[in-house]
């Protein structure tokens, strides 16, 4: 076997062959371009802003990545963000306790995730439809809880959403922390490996004695929980929990996951990739504002960059069947 003889070129080819790389390249090119195009771009303040803006999508996308690796999909995250924010705010308001408020938000997210999991594993409802149903229900419940009117939400949630440690936004720090944790979970724990196995070949995983249902419950629960955390951060950042919060996030989140090289067909996916994906999307938004590009061109360019980032990879990889 020649495995070890040409280690570095092999590693290099290997690196080039990964989707993450093509996203990283686009990201880098964009950073270089922006550094020349706008003097304020490469300031610490602006870079930290971009990081903070990426953090909520990235955090929610971490959970989504696991769901998709396990061959599921969670369309409900956007609504669950809203439901959790609202629940946290109301609990904090009625009990006067910050801890209970945070617990309420995370609890609501977890509950929604478990609900999705039950629909999938017990009622055998296709996750796309199950979570589409939850998308509507969660938002409806958030509306019922608030009567459609935003509830103010400050205290600890604000610290999560708007606080800074030295100059680094708390939510950005949290994103990196969670990314490290998830990287670890995905690659180094039994649960993580079971997630890959379940998504790659559910039947084989089951025959190997893996509890695929438990694995599915786990990923949906995590996705719900992180959507809850996302809701907390967003509401904290805004000091206000609106039932409308998070509307449409599901597409951004899923786009970040797929940009980062996770396959919708399951079994494959990368945690660093999803962080790159979320950063790319935030960077694009920032770039347009900095360059003052007309919003009509923003919309076109955004589409183009998404296609480009994945296209480089696709052309090089060739057909899959």
């Amino acid at each position: 076997m020649t495995e070890n003889t040409h280690k570095s070129p092999a590693m290099f080819t290997n690196l080039l062959a990964r989707r993450e790389t093509s996203v990283a390249i686009i990201l880098l090119l964009l950073i270089i371009f922006m550094s020349f195009a706008n003097e304020f771009f490469f300031t610490q303040r602006n870079l930290l802003n971009i990081g903070r803006q990426a953090s909520v999508v990235a955090i929610v996308a971490l959970g989504q990545t696991l769901v998709i690796i396990a061959r599921g999909i969670d369309l409900s995250v956007g609504s669950v963000i809203g439901l959790s924010a609202v629940t946290g705010a109301i609990v904090a308001e009625t009990t006067g306790s910050q801890i209970l408020g945070i617990g309420g938000a995370l609890g609501a997210g977890l509950t929604a995730g478990m609900f999705n999991a039950i629909l999938y594993t017990r009622l055998h409802i296709n996750p796309f439809i199950a979570t589409l149903g939850t998308l509507s229900m969660a938002r409806g419940i958030a509306l019922l809880m608030t009567g459609g009117i935003p509830v103010s939400f400050s205290g600890w949630a604000s610290w999560l959403g708007a606080g800074r440690i030295a100059t680094v936004p708390v939510s950005l720090a949290l994103m990196f922390l969670l990314a490290a944790l998830f990287y670890f979970v995905a690659t180094r724990t039994r649960a993580g490996r079971n997630i890959y196995a379940t998504g790659d070949n559910p039947t084989a995983a089951r025959l190997a004695g893996i509890d695929v249902d438990k694995t599915r419950v786990l990923v949906f629960a995590i996705s719900g929980l992180l959507a809850g955390l996302g809701g907390l951060i967003l509401a904290g950042n805004l000091n206000s929990a609106s039932p409308d919060l998070g509307r449409g996030y599901e597409l951004d989140v899923i786009a970040a996951v797929i940009l980062g090289g996770t396959a919708l067909s399951g079994g494959r996916g990368s945690i660093p990739g999803v962080i790159l994906g979320a950063l790319l999307m935030a960077l694009l938004g920032n770039a347009f504002v900095l360059l003052g590009v007309s919003s009509h061109w923003q919309v076109v360019t955004k589409g183009l960059v998404i296609i480009l980032a994945v296209g480089i990879d696709g052309v090089q990889r060739g057909r899959e069947d």
Binding site: R190, A197, A205, R206, L207, G209, I210, G267, R268
Partner: protein, 497 residues
Amino acid sequence: MKNHRLDINGVTKSFGPVEVLHGVNLSIEPGAVVGLLGENGAGKSTLMNIVSGSLRQDLGSMRLDGQELDLRSSRDGIDLGIRFVHQELSTIGSLSVAENIFLGDYLAGKGGLIDRKQMAKRSKAALAAVGLEGLNPNTIVDTLRPGQQQLIEIAKAVVVQPRLLILDEPTSSLTSVEAAKLFDLVRNLSRDGVSVIFITHKLEEALANCDRIVVLRDGTLVSDEAAVETDKARLIHHMVGKSSVFEWKGSAAKPGARQVSIRGLRDKSHLKPVDLDLDEGEVVALFGLVGAGRTELMETLFGFRKTAAGEVIVGNQKLRLGHVPTSVRNGVTMVPEGRKTRGILPSHSVERNISASSLDRLSHLGVMRSATERSQTHDFAQSLRIKMENTQQVITRLSGGNQQKAVFARAVMVAPRLLLLDEPTHGVDVGAKSEIYEIIHELAAKGMSVIVSSSELPEVFAIADRCVVFSQGELVGSLTRDEMTEDEILNLAFTNH
């Protein structure tokens, strides 16, 4: 009773209205190696699925070492030391070799984290036992060829010594060297008291390596004999109810009636330029060790794989290379290697699986002629004796061998001028095998040229007019029927090694 490893008592199983196992009884002693034989669809895999816990019987009971077995999932079976290497490849492509070997039972170190070092170390030992000593346990399984993946599954089954090891057609994707290693392993395990149930369609293998051979026919156990007291003919008789083995029927080739010529064909990776001609009615076997380049040659000439250079003429037609639809239109079809991944359309009925390559002929102005389709597919299914309820059945409900026959029917129904068969009898029972040989012979007699890749020498001798040998991507020799001997073929195959 007490010193039986496994007792199966009156196990009965139905799928829907069809009963596929009728009260099967079987006992196995510790350390025994039992061959389980039977035609495609006889119920072998189903019985083993029940023994391993992945299916539940309708009636009957089982005991393991005297202990009543109540298995709710394959997990329960695994926990009791029953390991089942399935007929279908069940590796997880995105995980490493070591992770596959410890799939579902990863070794954990401190704090529940996977202990990669320990897993790699212990994988190495298990890999060595199956003859993969050189393989790096951190390799991602996707990058390995099917034979290696199969061996990894076996390594997974024996990494912790099981009480009962079930091997469902483990040798169908292995080379003879690899298979020999496997049988060494089986003997060692048997010596350590592991009982082994071994399913195969290769009778020689069963006779040479098993203590006992039992035969399942249509869901009933019809014989149970010591290996030394039986022989091929008897076993075939038990399996199919009659004693028929296919024998060389003479050549149907029309010398000089050139039908296919391949010139300087190579792909973009490891194939060296190939020149090869076939006459009408000629059957050419491709032989080679694993990785010799047979699959690549066939896929390249079929248009499935990108061509770097060369030309292919079929009839008087020069093929547009790299485009399968035109190849099929010009009378070339292929039965690919890997029934599940590249052969069947899993959600489609048997009928639609069979007709998939003939849609041109079965339609008029783009509209399907359903009645014709129905009757023609039905005829082909019958003539290949595909065992099924009816042609509207979803193909995945058929046993593996019968699925393979449906894919075979698809390729033949086009009435091609050149038929490419890549390991066409993988997982096919003896009866069906000789039917397939018979059909190949008949097709050749009608003027069709056939290229068959085969890893089984008996198969080569049963059907080939000529044997072309590949070694490391290069065509190293061509032997006529008169020149063909086992030694000569094997010698050529090792040319570049």
